[in-house]
Structure formats: C-alpha cells, structure tokens
Subunit: 476 residues, 2 copies
Amino acid sequence: MATQKPALAKGTRDFGPKEVQKRKYILNSIESVFKKFGFMPLETPAMENLATLEGKYGDEGDKLLFRILNSGDYLKDLKEFQNNTSIDTTNLPSSTGNVSDLDSKAASKFISEKGLRYDLTVPFARYVVMNRNDITFPFKRYQMQPVWRADRPQKGRYREFWQCDADVVGSDSLINEVELIQIYAQAFSQLQIPYQIKLNNRKVLAGIAEVVKSVDEMNTIATAIDKLDKIGEAGVKAELTNCGYNDSELNTLFKIISLQGNNEVILQELESLLINSDIGSKGIEELQYVLRLIPNLTPVILDFSLARGLSYYTGCIIEVAATEGSLKSSIGGGGRYDNLTGIFGLPNVSGVGISFGLDRIYDVMEELNLFPNTVNRASSTQVLFCHFDEATQEYCLPALKVLRDAGIAAEVYPDVIRKKPIAKQLDYANALNIPYAAIAGETEMQQYVFNVKNLQTGEQTLIGTEELIRLINPFI
Amino acid sequence: MATQKPALAKGTRDFGPKEVQKRKYILNSIESVFKKFGFMPLETPAMENLATLEGKYGDEGDKLLFRILNSGDYLKDLKEFQNNTSIDTTNLPSSTGNVSDLDSKAASKFISEKGLRYDLTVPFARYVVMNRNDITFPFKRYQMQPVWRADRPQKGRYREFWQCDADVVGSDSLINEVELIQIYAQAFSQLQIPYQIKLNNRKVLAGIAEVVKSVDEMNTIATAIDKLDKIGEAGVKAELTNCGYNDSELNTLFKIISLQGNNEVILQELESLLINSDIGSKGIEELQYVLRLIPNLTPVILDFSLARGLSYYTGCIIEVAATEGSLKSSIGGGGRYDNLTGIFGLPNVSGVGISFGLDRIYDVMEELNLFPNTVNRASSTQVLFCHFDEATQEYCLPALKVLRDAGIAAEVYPDVIRKKPIAKQLDYANALNIPYAAIAGETEMQQYVFNVKNLQTGEQTLIGTEELIRLINPFI
C-alpha cells in the first residue's frame, strides 16, 4: 500500500504526555471536589440514538450533530423508500430515484440513526428517565467526558472537547445552589486560579422585564443583555430599540442592570425597584437566601446583566470568570432548570447544575503558570538506570525492581548503546526531565553501588539501592 | 414535542455510579503500574480521517468502522461526481444519477470522510509519525480510551468499549518484553486477580512451520492452532488436512505444541527439535533471554500453541488469562511487531506492546468478588447531615464545611422534609451506603453537638464536630 501522510481530522487534537498530565491534574482536582460534596460519577456512551439528541438543541444544534452512517447496506432503506410511491412524501425527498433530487437533510434520516453526544445534559436526562426506578433522589451526579459538535473549527473552539458537569435532580432546595457555588470556590482555590463568581436569577430577569415592559419580554431582554460584553450598552440599546423599546424603558432597564455596590446594598435597591413584581421579589428572596448561606469571603458578586444564553434556566444562574491574565472569559457556568426530563416522559423534575470549561481552565493555568512542577513533567520516572553493556544492564534490574516495589517510578534504558552510551542515555533522561540517573559501570557493579547523578545540579554520589531510595523519598 | 421513550443505542452501555467507581479502580490500578514503569500518557481524538483508519484492519475491519456523515450538504460531492462523466468511473458507482444504482460502499467515500477510532494502535502510529521530530525515542506510551466497532452486539461484546494499551516504539531490546510481562504481573497482583501469563514467539512458530512443512506455512499453522481452544485437536487437524497437510506433518506439529514440563525443560526439547531452523533457534534464544530476566515466581508458562490472531506480530507474543472463576478467558495480550509506522511513511520502527481487557477484568473481579469495600460504594460520602427544619439544616452547614476542609466527603440532605424527616433522610443514606448520619434536632443545636448514628451498627453518640472528624478518620 502507498505511503500516506497522516493528518488529524479537522478540529480535533492529540494530547501528548505533557498535555494529558496537565489535563488530568485539572480533571482530578475537580473530581475530588465533586466527590467531597457527595456527587457520584456517571458515564454515558459517545453514541446516542438521533431520536434522543434531535430537537434538544434548537435548529442550530441539530445542524451541529455528528451523524453516524448506518452500518452495512445503509442505502437500502433510502432505496426502498424511493421505490415505494405509496407512502406519504410530504416534506420528504422526491421519489424519482434520482440522487440529484435528494436533499441532504431529508436523506439523512434514512441512512443515519445514531449521532455523537452533543453535551452531557441530554444523555443525563435520558439516563435518569431510563433508570428512574433504581435511582435514589435527590440524585447528585457528575460526568466528565468528551462531546462533539460539527462547529467551524477556530482558535479555542474544537469539534471534540470535554465537559465536566455536576447536577442535582429531584430537589428544589436552594441549598443545592449554595453547594454548587462552594464547589466552584473549592475547585478554583485548589487550582489556585484567581476567580470571581457572578450570580443572577432568571426570576429577577423576569421581574426586570415586568417593570421595564412586560414579563413576557424576559427572553428578549435576556438575549439582548447577554451580548453586553460583546456589543456594549449602545449595541444592546440599538437591538432593543429595534424590538420596539422606547427610551424610557431602556433607561429603566439600564438603571437596574448597572446597579453598583456590595451585594447587600444593590439587592436592597433592586428590592424597592421590583416591589411591584411578584416574580422579581421571589427572585430577590432566592438570591438573598443563597448569599446568606455561602461562606464568608467567597468571591460572589451579583450581576443583573448576567443572562446566560440558554433559555431553559428558570432560577439562579451562575457564571465564573478568571480575574487575571489576558483570558478573562468564562471558565464555568450553570443554573437551575425545570422539567429537564419532561421530554423523555418524566415531568416535574427540577434540576440545578454547573459545568467546568476544561479547555479554558487549561489555557488560564498555562498563561498564569499555575501547574505545579510535578505536573509539568511528561514522565513520572524518578530514576533512569544507565549502563554500558549487557552485563551492567542486567546488574540494574534487581535494583530497578526494589525501587518500584518501594513505590518509586523508575526505568532502565532498554537498549545497549555501544557508542557514547552514557551521553545518549542522559539525553533521554534530560529530554524527559527525569531527575536522577543511576549509572552502572564495571566498578559500580563490583562494589554493589550506582553512580547516582542529580541531573539538575550535576552532583554525583556512589550509593547503594537503599540509599538511592532514601535520596528520592526520605519518608520511606 | 411528543414524549419519547428513550433508549440506548444498540450495543452501548451507561455506567452508573457503582460501575464507574469499579471501572476507575481498575483503570487507576493499571495506570499506576504504567507510570511506575516509566510509560507516559497519550490521548488521541475519537474521530480520525477514514484515510488513517481504512486498510489497517483487513476487509472485515473496514466493514466494522463507524463512519461519520460529512456535515452540511454531504450529498453535494456525490451529486457533483454523478453529474461529471469525464472522471474515471472504474470501481466507482454508476453515473446514471439514479440512487438505485448506487452501492453503499462506493457511495460512502463521497458522503463520509471521518470514522470512529477502531483501536488505539493505529492512532498511536499516526501520532508517532506526525510527531516524530519532537518525540524522544524509545517512546513508552500508554493510552486508555474507548474504541468503537460496528460488530453485532452480543453478551460481553459491545460496540463501544475501552482499551488500555502500553507500547514501546523505537527499541529492539528484549528488556521491553521483560518489562511488559512485569507490568502484567504487577497490575494483576495489585488487583488480586489469579492469573497466568502465556508466552510464545512468532519466530518459534516460523521454526515449527519450517520443521513441519515450510517456513511460509507459518500463518496457516498459526491461524489453525489459534483455534485449538475452540475446535480442539481434531478440528485443527481437519482444518490443516484441508490445507494439504499429511498425517506425518500433523504428528510432528502436535508433538511440538503439546510439549509438557517446566519452561526450561520444554525449551531444551524444542531446541533439539528445531535445531535445523535458524529462525526457530533465534526465537528460542529470545524466549530464553526473556525467561531468564523475569523475576522468579512470576507465573509465566511457555505455550507453543499460542498464536494470537493478528499476523503483524513478529517476535514474542504474550497472553494473560484468569485462572479462577468461570471466566477463564483472556484478560490481556500483546507482542512485538515490526514496521508499525511504515504505512504512514516512517519505516523500520519496531514496537512491542500489551493490552488490558477492561471489560473482561471487570467481569472476573465481579465474579471473584475482588473489589474492595470502598470501591463497592457508589457514593464517597462518609457523613450525611440530617435535620428537621430550616433552622437545624442551617445549623449543619458550618460543621459540613469543617468536615470537608478536613478532607472528609460529606453532604447535607438538601430538602427540608416535614413528614417523617429522619426516616426519609436515613433511607437516602442507606440507599447510598453512607456509613454515618449526623442528626441535628433542637436539643443537639442548643448543645452544639450532633446525634451521630453508625448506620451499620445502629450505635448512636452525641458528639461535636471535632469528635465526629476523629470518629471518621482517627489519623487526622
């Protein structure tokens, strides 16, 4: 077969040893916090039936689903359909049998019935409904897995990326919101990322809409102010003017969402502004409760312009941003939603959840140099055993085993090198940032020792295996 | 939208909290051994270009690839092709424009250019070739990720399953074989699985073929004796008779592959039987070297009938089986292969690798009851704080935080229950196998204590937060 120049599929990435170590460091940190808060792991398959995925993410989302071609003779059903003129052809491809008349969207239902997971929320809802009789509610689950979207790839946006979600379903209590905010606080403190948590409530947004124009306008207002960061006050005002808002309405709106001061003060001011809105007052009450129960010093600020795009949120909405570095973008977000599982036949299950943006967190930590030194190494190896020939290599093997049995990651250079053996082996150790080389020559072998070289300082010492272990881990 | 009854895609599985805990226990055990032996992690994307995947797994494998439909107007290229009669149509679908004349296989090259990873070896080879200038060789990598095959689902065979591979590329040394065998030994000892490692060498198989009939017959013989477990000696003989083997040849073959005794003895006997085969003698030499360097007491036995299906192996071949329980099937396998990366333009890179069968290991451990108690719990929570009303619930929160700050996983029941509150909350704790409940009533709140109940023994004690921490972890 001819030689191929291999390439990655567009929008996908390999993660080499260094990147995996760092990504796992982040994932493990977040996971340890999830567990400490009583969340349990769930993993769902990459492939879901299209019936599960379609219609859940809007028309735009449906277009971004990766569809999997049916196995075997996948054209069979399409041909059968096209040869059968007795069935209803409304909204379906023509039955002329001519491929030129086919429409990609219409044809796909005949040749594809599975797709790749687009997020973790819909598979979670499916899981909950399918296992409703075995699950103990409230069900606190976390899930850390890749998802796929056929988006146009660009800097920082990939077609395969990880999501890390924690959700509670089957509990209306605001204690869950308090807990999820603390999960953010603990995880980002543990990762040493400077962060700020923004908090708002959809009911407050509804109240604002009611006071400004009408409660039905909530989505219009939310959609517009969601773009405040990108298009500025003038842009938002222009958009709402187009939607029929007058100056007085816009001034009321911006007076509210620009409230300044500490959380307590602006919540009091908002209370008087929304005094005539029941739903707004309920939202304020929820925010007051959550803020009161969050431990002191948690960096949470109210932001009434926070809307978060997805309209399925119904209560508190949360967003976290890094506060240092050039990447001040969102590193996490979430909120409360009602009726997550309704579409799958289990109505009235309220849920609240948060998500961590692994790629963004990675970029922030990289820029701020927050990965610990141990994580910055691709290899876990502490000692490389180096040698000159078969005999000295074999001499290394029992010591290698003793080190590993003591829990120390170690390796022996596998090949016997005839020309400049030590230089070549130290090159390998240095390339992998291995801290120690234990060199075995004729002399060392006769004395039952190794010439142990600290590859950072260059310091060398002739020691036996037990001393070598203590050198690396004095606590053993 | 109408209610849907949700289902899993055929051949896929959800892993609920208990299963994830157990699977992660296995994966983490294996990973810790990989790291101790100096292997570094790699992760490749789920989607690969079909150009990378096709032609690597034989015709059967190509059929089992999951192909992803191109995004957008995926029929465009197919239409264009069909409207363009000037291009070469040899071996391509007819250009009549009639879908009935299309063949699924031929059409797919127009509508799909990506597929799901079929194994971890081909993506690894692609990675090595693409990153050849940045990789330090020998490159020791491990990779633990799901793969997808459009196989007919059946008991124990899934369309999405995990592989856990460790490979060394760029080293011819047999020390790697010795190391990989020790990785198996350490990992299965750590998991407490009773196991046996079978060892053979393709060069020995070639030698046997040479002595029996001709060295070119190696693949025929290997393919036949690979089925010994399934079709027995009579079956294998029948198959080889069909291939033109006579009784004398079959007797020689079975005399060799039935050799009994300890490794040293049968290797000596084999040595004299293969004395006239250079390649056979080389294989014996390799086996002798590996066996000599493996630490004593490692349960390795020679098995000259071990062939392992895939014909790309060229040196040692390894297989591990559990030795207890009803599932005596293979739980791992591997071997040395040459020229893994040749197809991608990097010739003469030798590699050797092993694979762990996660699903099989899981089933064996489940049957033999080998999962530790801590892993058998779905939740990590040690203490559930229980309460009667808003006031007692709030009273729990500072204690909850102190426990978590001490590293103890804990949670508070989020909802306030009016009717039989403690019964309901203890049901939750028992369902999740949470070992302790810390109950806060009016009296406890006034005395700054909790009524802590050991949910296994029923024992109750009134203690403060510090005592509670010491009760759960006396070493803090």
